[in-house]
Symmetry: C2
Amino acid sequence: MLAPNPNPARTVRLRIRLVLGEGQALGPGKADLLEQIDALGSIAAAGRAMGMSYKRAWSLVEVMNTTFAAPLVESSRGGAGRGGARLTGTGRIVLECYRRIEDRAAEAAYADFDILAALLPETENG
Amino acid sequence: MLAPNPNPARTVRLRIRLVLGEGQALGPGKADLLEQIDALGSIAAAGRAMGMSYKRAWSLVEVMNTTFAAPLVESSRGGAGRGGARLTGTGRIVLECYRRIEDRAAEAAYADFDILAALLPETENG
């Protein structure tokens, strides 16, 4: 919908992080991991797609699964590389909420992005 | 305006981070530092109020001052502890935009906060 930005040095983007309960965070990394698990049906494959070790991907899933009252990811932890994984109903709702918050927050911030972008330096090629 | 939250384990808060141009970030720490400098008139005092070393506070200010086309903080770098500091016009606009984006983003996310909060575990005391 937007014309290509004529000057990439003058862009403003918003990253969000949700702080849940008494301190667990849900940010872009975990949201992307949920999305990749949903797309690829495997925690290992999702981690690989994000350049993340298997151990790291599992550890993030375990944190997410204990942050909420119900798990976000359900997996059949088979032999190496065998187990499939999928989002639970809770996982799907959490991911949808996260993406919707991202969209609505960016939309709400749009006018201020323009103000800030105008205060950024132009590049020589700008 | 809100009634006291009956269950602190079931809160959802939003933290934002702006990604500016080709990668500089402006998040809660830098925004709070600008606010403290504005309130206290000194980078050292602002850093102390945030439990931050003088060196760290100065380094964050220097990063902010070179991220935008004009500096955000103007200081008279006198002898140890002597120099005063204040926000420039640009600094004031940037801080205002940041706080307004925070408010508007949280407002836009409000309905989803409720959905997520309901998925968090109750504490034993909840």
